[in-house]
């Protein structure tokens, strides 16, 4: 079947829903394609808040937020993006409130704000209350509110449609191809502009906060066309996942006064970040936790976690402002944060890298200003490089509303000015080839085992602490897994609701993301933000103040070509010189 829309949005999480709303305001026809029902998107799992310098609780300014974002990103953040963001997010938060989002409130009835890791006043002097929140389910409320507004606007949704291909020819995007789960039918969507907002790919790791559906599909499809993925080496581990499970425990828990303790009860963050202690940025806290564990001061049977201590906080705070994580601890660990210490460990959480875009969301095809006409991206899928080498807590929800909105506006503006481009001759050919290939293998290999080996080896070799030899080993492991993937078993011949075919397809996408990440990390011989190498222990601004652009070598399978892109070291009105990152 064939469809035609001026603007197509892929993904119905926060970025996709915001983009769809704004594209629709641009007076063009819009449809949103999602592999889930929109309310199932992973934006709903974000807990702690959305940072904006509203100043409702303590004095704050967008410049301070911009500085924290740039410093938090270890100066790899593009400062023009940080400036646009820090200003825009203030309006965007008010806009969410005007859409009815039920924020928690101050005694004066304003949007409540609390402390968060790396949020400071006066350029690093002390912690500041910047995170706007709705209890500890802020992402859930953003997702619900944006979906509600799309229902109000009558946005057309194609739910449970898995995008299998992007139609790009001669540097121009012409639409997408998608598999409809309910019928097994392959659809062609012809479009003037396409916005990619399908989220991250945390499922390449063994321990992750990410949903099972976060498999990097569109990043991989982009990469398979010989187009670059930017800064893939920068992958954030959230310091506090529930031990072994990886389920997110919001940073709001530390914002409200929670304290990390090792096996002897010591508040160890005092040693690593004396100024802001438990409220240091995520890369620093994650490394501090792993250091404690490696030095034998972990807790639990395997001594591979540390505790988060809330027991000194009033019960009303724990059960009120932190109700979600209280429920998670009780459900999954049988522990009550009101009186028990809760064991946590770092969990794979957020991709700072992804499909490179400019400030308007336009997808870039190289590091020298080339772009793909008609193709936009936003949210975790994209890399406008707001987050640089390490994302500040709350800036993911901010990113998706600010840059989702911009992508929607500019995609619609573009679509109004152009005619529909011609479709390729046989738009479904590559999708059909992929499906035929997956079904015609020898069937020796169980996809679940390949996936498990990928997840464990990525965790071990390209995790929080990295070194050259481990990553070289990982390059070989991924080559072997990809070769076994050629013989993967797809036993279910049915067309309707073939969830087996989808899982196998997603595994192929994940292997590509893992390949690009490993090559990018091996190539960067320094330590910066979330990328920490034992064999290159310091930050090297002389050689590495630049973005990585990883390209799949279409002629040599398994080989990755590396290019670079300059970092924007100035904003429009402010610029922050790189300096040592101490907290």
């Amino acid at each position: 079947m064939q469809h035609r829309y001026d603007v197509l949005v892929i993904g119905a999480g926060g970025a996709g829903l915001m983009a769809a709303l704004y594209a629709a305001k641009g007076n063009v026809s819009v449809a949103c394609i999602s592999k889930l029902y929109p309310t199932r998107s992973h934006t709903g799992a974000a807990q702690g808040g959305i940072g904006a310098a509203l100043g409702n609780v303590a004095e704050d300014h967008w410049e301070w937020h911009m500085f924290d974002t740039v410093k938090g990103g270890d100066y790899l953040t593009d400062q023009d993006a940080a400036e646009v963001f820090s200003k825009d997010i203030i309006d965007a938060v008010y806009e969410l409130e005007h859409m009815g989002l039920p924020f928690s409130r101050t005694p004066e009835g304003k949007i409540a704000q609390r402390k968060f890791g790396g949020h400071t006043r006066e350029f690093g002097k002390a912690a500041v209350e910047r995170s706007c929140y709705a209890k500890d389910r802020t992402g859930h409320m953003i997702l619900q509110t944006l979906y509600q507004q799309n229902v109000k606007e009558g946005t057309k949704f194609f739910n449970e449609f898995h995008v299998t291909d992007l139609l790009i020819e001669d540097g121009r995007c012409r639409g997408v191809v998608a598999y409809e789960l309910a019928t097994g039918e392959i659809h062609t969507f012809h479009a003037k502009a396409v916005i990619l907002a399908a989220g991250g790919y945390g499922r390449i790791f063994k321990i992750t906060s990410n949903a099972l559906t976060l498999t990097g599909d569109l990043m991989s499809i982009y990469y398979r066309k010989g187009l670059p993925l930017e800064d893939m080496e920068f992958y954030q581990f959230h310091p506090t996942g529930l031990a072994k499970l990886g389920i997110l425990v919001t940073e709001g828990i530390r914002g409200e006064g929670g304290i990390l303790r090792n096996d002897s009860g010591e508040r160890f963050m005092e040693r690593y970040a004396p100024t802001i202690k438990d409220l240091a940025p995520r890369d620093i806290v994650s490394r501090s936790i792993i250091s404690e564990i490696r030095e034998g001061r972990g807790v639990g049977r395997d001594k591979d976690a540390v505790n988060i201590d809330l027991t000194h906080l009033p019960r009303e705070v724990i059960e009120g402002k932190l109700a979600e994580i209280t429920d998670l601890a009780r459900t999954y660990l049988g522990m009550d944060p009101v009186k028990d210490l809760v064991p946590v460990q770092p969990t794979a959480h957020y991709a700072m890298g992804g499909i490179p875009t400019d400030l308007n969301g336009l997808c870039l095809s190289d590091g020298n200003g080339g772009s793909i006409e008609g193709l936009y991206a936003a949210g975790e899928q994209a890399c406008v490089s707001l987050h640089g080498a390490n994302r500040l807590g709350t800036n993911s929800l901010g990113d998706l509303v600010v840059f989702g909105r911009r992508a929607g506006i500019y995609a619609a503006q573009y679509a109004r000015q152009v005619e529909f481009p011609d479709l390729p001759d046989d738009p479904q050919r590559d999708t059909k080839d992929m499906f035929d290939g997956l079904r015609s293998g020898s069937g020796k290999e169980n996809p679940a085992l390949i996936r498990k080996e990928m997840q464990e080896s990525m965790m071990n070799n390209v995790g929080i602490f990295r070194n050259g030899p481990d990553m070289e080993k990982q390059v070989e492991i991924l080559k072997e897994l990809k070769s076994r993937y050629q013989d993967v078993n797809v036993g279910d011949p049915s067309l309707r609701y073939n969830s087996e075919l989808i899982e196998v397809m997603e595994l192929g996408f994940m292997l590509d993301c893992a390949e690009a990440m490993t090559a990018s990390a091996l190539n960067r011989t320094e330590s910066r933000g979330a990328h920490d190498r034992a064999d290159y222990h310091t930050r090297d601004d002389v050689n590495w103040l630049k973005h990585t652009m990883a390209y799949k070598d279409l002629d040599r399978p398994g080989n990755v070509l590396i290019g670079y892109k300059d970092v924007a070291l100035k904003g429009f009105t402010r610029a922050f010189e790189p300096k040592a990152r101490v907290y």
Binding site: L36, Y37, T39, R40, S41, H42, G44, A45, L54, Y94, H98, G100, P102, F103, R105, T106, P107, G109, K110, I111, A134, K135, R137, T145, Q148, V151, K152, A182, R203, F205, L212, A243, K244, L245, G246, R301, D302, E324, D327, L328, T331, Y332, L333, G334, M335, P343, N446, A448, L449, K452, Q455, N489, V490, G491, D492, S494, R496, Y497, S499, E500
Partner: protein, 256 residues
């Protein structure tokens, strides 16, 4: 199978590793419309840890026993609402139900699709009627007055009025446990009434009267017979029956 069990990405929690291994059977209602004329049970023997989620067990079946098993799942921790199913006869989220709470060693866990919606394949049902009901109650904030430059002021008490209803994740556990909904699919059902409650009791919203009118129709709130199934089924402990009663009272007195 199951040596692989403990190494999967969803390994159980540290505190639970000392818990015993349970040898259980999982009995799943299977239906593939391309092959089957009617649904049939299939049973799988699984070794599970007591702290595993039922979803871990179902994934285990799919990944190592029968790849064709079809169900919805996503977040794995009770926030996306994808994996509502009937577990031992009760509506629950498979990712929020621990094995130890539904089976003893040597016991059987039964898993079926939620009731009242058409089964498309195995545990996966047609969700469209559910979302159609949701859309029918105008589930969006309405305030046509010019917005202020900053936020609309709302007191902490007024914000707290929405805390329970806005906690809903639209998993459909409540609506598909409601006997009235099973008998009469045109009843909007508990989930939609909870959504209506969320806006009716929002101090900033201006469409209270329109929503009360929808709730007053014969598909609305008066169909509720206070069976409490919805409240028992809710995986997020929303006191749904109480919220429905509050909406009934608001309709009766025509004010929120």
């Amino acid at each position: 199978m199951t040596q692989t069990q403990h190494e999967t990405s969803t390994a159980p929690a540290a505190a639970q590793q000392a818990l015993p291994m349970l040898h259980i059977k999982v009995k799943i209602l299977r239906f593939d419309p391309e092959k089957d004329r009617k649904a049939h049970w299939e049973t799988y023997a699984i070794d599970a840890q007591a702290g595993d989620r039922v979803l871990d067990v179902i994934n285990e079946v799919k990944w190592y026993h029968d790849h064709s098993l079809t169900f919805r799942r996503s977040c794995m921790h009770g926030i996306c609402g994808s994996d509502a199913m009937l577990i031992n006869g009760r509506n629950r989220l498979a990712c929020k139900t621990l094995v130890r709470d539904v089976a003893k060693d040597g016991g059987t866990i039964t898993v079926e699709p939620i009731r009242g919606l058409k089964v498309e394949k195995d545990l996966l049902v047609d969700m469209e009627p559910f979302f159609d009901s949701y859309k029918a109650i105008m589930p969006y904030f309405i305030n046509e007055s010019p917005a202020p430059a900053a936020e609309r002021i709302q007191s902490e008490e007024e914000a707290e009025r929405m805390a329970q209803s806005s906690n809903c994740i639209l998993c459909a556990c409540c609506t598909t446990s409601c006997p009235i909904f099973w008998v009469n699919g045109s009843y909007l059902g508990p989930a939609s009434i909870v959504q209506a409650h969320r806006f009716i009791f929002d101090s900033r919203d201006e469409a209270t009267q329109q929503r009360l009118n929808i709730m007053n129709q014969n598909t609305g709130v008066w169909r509720c017979r206070t069976a409490y199934n919805c409240t028992e089924a809710c995986p997020r402990d929303i006191p749904i029956t109480q919220l429905i009663e509050e909406v009934k009272r608001a309709v009766m007195y025509q004010q929120a």
